[in-house]
Symmetry: C2
Subunit: 217 residues, 2 copies
C-alpha cells in the first residue's frame, strides 16, 4: 500500500526539522565549550555526524547557524526575564537591573552571540535572514519594553536604551571576561593587570542600576 | 670614509620606525574606508607597497597591526577627552557624558577597533603584545579616572564602570550603526525595522547621562 503524497511531505518536513534542531544543538554545544569564534562549519558537521556538503543543504553558511541560535537566545532570554518581571506588581529600578544582569550572566553562549551578531553573523547571510533575525529581536524588545514600562514607567526610547545597554554590555563584558586561558593567566599573575579582570554579573548590575536610577529620577 | 656602526644602527632604527608608521597609516586608511573586519594583511601590504613577507618582519600578524592602532587610539582619544574635561573647573554629569559621547563618536575607526579588540585582535598576537596593550589602556583609564574623580567625585570602581560603559557601548553601537550599505538599505526601507537603525552619538550621550545621574545621585 502506498502512502499519500501529503504523508510523505509531512514525514520529510518533520525529518528536516529534527535534523535542523540537531545541527543547532551541536553548534550550541561547541560554542559553549570553546567560544563561538573558534567553531567552524567543519566542526559542527563532525559533531552532528554529517558531511559538510549535506549540512549546507540545511543552513547556507556557518553564520546562518549562529544567527539562528542568537534568535533562539533572544526568545528564550526574553521569556525568562519577563517571567521574573511579571511576578512583580511594582519594582524599584535596582530589582529590574538585577533581573536583567542575572538572566544575561546565566547565559554565556547568548552573551557571546550578542557580541558576535553585528560584527560577524549578520554579514555572511542573506538579506532575508537578516530581516527575519531583526524582526525576532525587535518583537522581543517590544515585549520586554512593555514590562519595564509597566513597572518603571519607561517610555519607548528609554526602554530601547535600557535593552541596548543591557545586551550591548553583556556582549562586551563577556568578551573581556573570556579572553581564553592563556591571557586570563596573564591577567591574574601580573599585578599591574588586575583591572583587566572583568566579572560580568556584578559590573552589569552596577551599570544598569545606575542607568535606571538616573533614568527614573 | 666609512660611517661608525652606531650611525648605521640609528639610521636603520629610524628607517624601521618610518616603515612601521607607514604600515599603521595604511591599515588605518583601509579600516576607515571599509571597516576593520574586511581589511586583510595582503590589502595592507598592497596599500603600503610592500611584499607581504616583508611586512611580516615589522608586525607578526594582521591582528598585531590593529592592536597597535587600538593602543594609539586609546592614547589619542584619552588626550582629547581629558583636554575637554581639564578645561572645566566643575562639571555636571551631563557635560561629562557629552564629552565622552562627542569624542568617541568623532572617532569611528577607534569605535570599530574597540569592539574588535577583545573578540579578535587580542587572540592572534603574542602574550607580550597583549600585556603591552593592556598596560597602555589601563594607564589611560587611570588618567581619565583622575579627571572624572576631580569633576564628579567618582571613586575608582565608578570611574572604571563609566569608562567601560562608554567604550563598550561605543564599540557595540558603532557595529550596530554600520552594518554595511546592503543591510542599512534594508533597515531604512522596511518600516518594521525602523528601530534597527542606530545613531551612535545621541544614544551614547543619553546612556552615559543617565548612568552618571544615577551614580552621582
Amino acid at each position: 500500500m502506498t502512502q499519500p503524497a501529503s504523508f510523505h511531505r509531512a514525514r520529510s518536513a518533520e525529518a528536516k526539522q529534527v535534523r535542523e534542531a540537531a545541527i543547532l544543538e551541536a553548534a550550541r554545544t561547541l560554542g559553549r565549550e570553546r567560544g563561538i569564534r573558534d567553531v567552524t562549519l567543519t566542526d559542527i558537521a563532525a559533531q552532528v555526524g554529517m558531511h559538510k556538503s549535506a549540512l549546507l543543504r540545511y543552513f547556507e553558511t556557518r553564520e546562518r547557524i549562529f544567527l539562528e541560535l542568537t534568535a533562539q537566545g533572544w526568545r528564550e532570554w526574553s521569556a525568562a526575564l519577563r517571567a521574573l518581571l511579571q511576578a512583580r506588581d511594582a519594582a524599584d529600578s535596582a530589582a529590574v537591573a538585577d533581573a536583567f544582569a542575572a538572566t544575561l550572566a546565566a547565559r554565556p553562549v547568548f552573551c557571546d552571540l550578542l557580541a558576535q551578531a553585528p560584527l560577524n553573523l549578520e554579514r555572511n547571510v542573506s538579506l532575508e535572514a537578516v530581516r527575519d533575525f531583526k524582526l525576532v529581536t525587535l518583537h522581543e524588545v517590544a515585549l520586554i519594553g512593555a514590562e519595564v514600562d509597566r513597572l518603571l514607567g519607561l517610555d519607548e526610547q528609554q526602554a530601547l536604551d535600557l535593552i541596548s545597554t543591557a545586551t550591548g554590555m553583556a556582549g562586551a563584558l563577556w568578551q573581556m571576561a573570556s579572553p581564553g586561558p592563556r591571557i586570563r593567566e596573564l591577567y591574574v599573575t601580573d599585578p599591574r593587570l588586575g583591572h583587566a579582570v572583568v566579572e560580568v554579573e556584578p559590573r552589569l548590575r552596577r551599570i544598569l542600576t545606575a542607568f535606571l536610577a538616573g533614568t527614573t529620577a
